[in-house]
């Protein structure tokens, strides 16, 4: 509601116009999207194999291992991030974009592994065996059977990583000493400094983005699950 009123309380699109006209806000947004994409990609690339391996192991040890992956999350976020800073210090790696990406992946990797692992666990192994029996080589088995079947998990994982990365600003603050600003910071700054109208407008923009991506994905995904059944 705040979004649509400017400081005088009149109904107006001024706030949105401000967003378009302020190149830094726009750029910060686009940059955050970029970081989110890279992070999601990295999490996917690193996380999928991990989830796959975990699902292949016997259920007892795999459960423990999965919990081990979640465990770091129980140490408070701030101290974890500070420890990462100390780690980089120790290894003499300068802070910056690389550190930022590491920090992001570090924080969100478990969120990617978890859903994919769940899905893979539940996958009917006989389907895979059937594919193998029908003469498919391992690569085909993977691409045409396992991958589509795990699609809902991948989708969940992406959801739990992509958007939160755009809005997480604390990591960027600490791991790049505020040199790199993510969209979440912009939002936070505006709201905290009393420019609630502008802040609200910004968050509506995010909501819009969420809406668009979700619509696209759910539309595509539902079909994928249906077709995934067909070999």
């Amino acid at each position: 509601m705040y979004a649509f009123t400017n400081n005088e309380g009149d109904f107006s699109f001024t706030n949105f116009r401000k967003f378009w006209m302020q190149p830094e806000a726009m750029n910060t947004f686009i940059y955050s999207v970029g970081i989110a994409l890279i992070t999601t990609f990295l999490c996917l690339v690193l996380g999928y194999p991990a989830a796959y391996i975990l699902s292949r192991m016997e259920s007892r040890s795999s459960k423990i291992l999965v919990l081990l992956f979640i465990l770091p999350m129980w140490i408070n976020f701030l101290i974890r991030t500070l420890a990462t800073v100390a780690l980089f210090d120790f290894l003499s790696i300068p802070l910056g974009q690389g550190a930022l990406l590491f920090g992001m992946v570090y924080n969100f990797l478990p969120f990617m592994i978890y859903p994919i692992y769940n899905i893979l666990q539940k996958t009917d192994k006989s389907l895979i065996e059937a594919a193998q029996d029908l003469g498919a080589n391992p690569r085909q088995v993977f691409i045409k059977t396992i991958l589509p079947l795990s699609a809902p998990g991948i989708y969940s994982g992406i959801m739990m990583v992509f958007m939160p990365v755009i809005s997480t600003f604390a990591i960027a603050e600490l791991l790049t000493i505020n040199n790199i600003k993510l969209f979440g910071s912009t939002l936070q700054e505006n709201i905290y400094n009393g420019m609630w109208n502008y802040g609200a407008a910004l968050s509506l923009v995010m909501l819009l983005l969420i809406g668009i991506t979700s619509l696209l994905n759910t539309g595509g995904n539902a079909k994928a699950t249906e077709e995934g059944g067909l070999i």
């Binding site: 400081n7 302020q22 830094e24 994409l37 505020n178 700054e189 905290y192 009393g194 079909k223």
Partner: protein
């Protein structure tokens, strides 16, 4: 058999949890029924008050007024959160301790109410506050509101440069230029606060005008004319290229590790950092540059929605006693606004070689005292400091300028990558649509 046990355990655990939560719920209901006049809600920064006082005050209060009181103490970490909670959420805190700029903003927005000076038979300690601070406080009086009625100053200090004595010379840091000096590139930290940054940049930008007397430090920092703002923006952009980053809380820590050579700091923080650095053999010192800086202070105010003004006022009185102020100074590391001889005695340190002139604070005759100059700056330093006001209605403009100055990190590579990604995504989705359409056609075709 074992499965059943686990099941029952889980079920009982669930049952207990539900019971516990309903119990808690009723408990919180019960608390609100207690009379509000027996509760004092205090909202403060972390580690900014001696917490033992919170248990001793109710005793004192009972002695003075014969009434019972219970203190509820809540911590906030960011002023903005506090402000939002009070302004938007109408939270009924009785006492809050913001910095003077925010106090000004709150007064301007009519969010404060005056405290009650009627203390019955209790002596009035409020006059213990140094006239020096009280004078500066008066600058905030607006329209019919006298600041003195609304605020009781708590701690005060200066802003300056914290530097590593082995890596940077004292002479160098005697000017704000040290922050802009390319020699220190990547080894400088500035606070991520547009208020501090604006004022420092402005003072440095107009250093010549100030030195020649054309403009005062006060006017440079508080006029906020469009030309001022534009010039500050230029300077901030240059500063950005020189700093390692904009720190919010961890600057002093990085200094104790020796990674950063100098940073903008507040006097109280500097004291902490110097001590901590000494324990790891890093030698730090603090200085207020010659061009000028600010005196800041924070104070206790009573927000508009407070529920217990009487107890709050008594608490303010209580805080102004010498012993209480001393204890708070100890815990927080800052300098109290209370200026009594007892406090002065405690601060005297005969091991110090230099003396400072503190007549402005403790009264005439106190012009060569052996006191920690960081906590109690010499009068020459104070002469070149001014109070920095809040931006008030220029707030939005300055914020915009700030985000322009800090810029963004978007570079070519990133932009290209993002475009490429979305382009491919669009292509892929369209491709799938086409396939689906074709297969539908095929299926319909087959059915026939």
């Amino acid at each position: 058999m074992q499965r059943f046990n686990l099941h029952t355990i889980l079920r009982t655990a669930l049952f207990v949890l539900v019971l516990a939560s309903t119990g808690l719920f009723f408990n919180s209901c019960k608390e609100s029924k207690e009379s509000r006049s027996k509760i004092l809600k205090i909202y403060n920064w972390a580690d900014y008050i001696d917490e033992d006082l919170l248990t001793e005050f109710p005793v004192w209060y009972k002695e003075q007024t014969g009434e019972d009181i219970k203190i509820v103490y809540q911590i906030f970490d960011m002023t903005e959160v506090m402000y939002t909670k009070i302004a938007l959420g109408e939270e009924d805190f009785d006492l809050v301790c913001p910095t003077q700029a925010i106090i000004e903003r709150m007064m301007y927005n009519h969010l404060l109410i005056p405290f009650d000076r009627n203390f019955g038979s209790t002596p009035n300690y409020l006059s213990n506050i140094s006239p020096f601070i009280r004078e500066r406080l008066d600058a905030f009086s607006k329209e019919s509101m006298k600041a003195e009625d609304y605020v009781v100053p708590y701690m005060w200090g200066t802003s300056g440069v914290l530097y590593n004595t082995k890596l940077v010379s004292a002479e160098e840091v005697s000017s704000w230029n040290c922050l802009w000096n390319p020699k220190n590139k990547g080894k400088v930290l500035m606070k991520d606060s547009y208020w501090d940054a604006y004022n420092v940049a402005s003072i440095f930008a107009y250093a010549n005008d100030i030195a020649s007397g054309k403009r005062s430090v006060y006017s440079v920092a508080n006029d906020h004319t469009p030309e001022d703002i534009a010039l500050v923006e230029e300077y901030l952009k240059r500063l950005k290229t020189n700093v390692a980053g904009w720190e919010a809380d961890f600057g002093k820590e990085m200094m104790t590790k020796g990674e950063i050579w100098l940073s903008y700091a507040w006097s109280g923080d500097a004291v902490w950092a110097i001590e901590e650095a000494a324990s790891v053999d890093v030698s730090l010192d603090y200085i207020v540059p010659d061009e000028g800086s600010n005196i800041w202070f924070d104070g206790w105010v009573i927000p508009k929605y407070a529920g217990n003004v009487k107890a709050a006022s008594y608490f303010l009185n209580y805080l102004c006693q010498s012993e209480v102020a001393l204890r708070n100074m100890d815990i927080s590391g800052y300098s109290s606004a209370v200026a009594t001889p007892e406090i002065l005695d405690e601060q005297l340190d005969s091991t110090l070689t230099e003396t400072v002139n503190l007549s402005y604070f403790f009264g005439p005759g106190n012009d060569s005292l052996q006191v920690n100059p960081i906590q109690y700056p010499d009068s020459s330093i104070v002469a070149r400091c001014a109070i920095f006001n809040d931006f008030l209605d220029k707030n939005d403009t300055v914020l915009e300028m700030w985000s322009r100055a800090k810029g963004d990190s978007l570079n070519q590579g990133m932009a290209i990558m993002i475009f490429a990604f979305f382009f491919l995504l669009a292509v892929y989705l369209i491709y799938k649509r086409v396939l689906r359409y074709q297969s539908k056609k095929r299926r319909l075709g087959k059915k026939k």
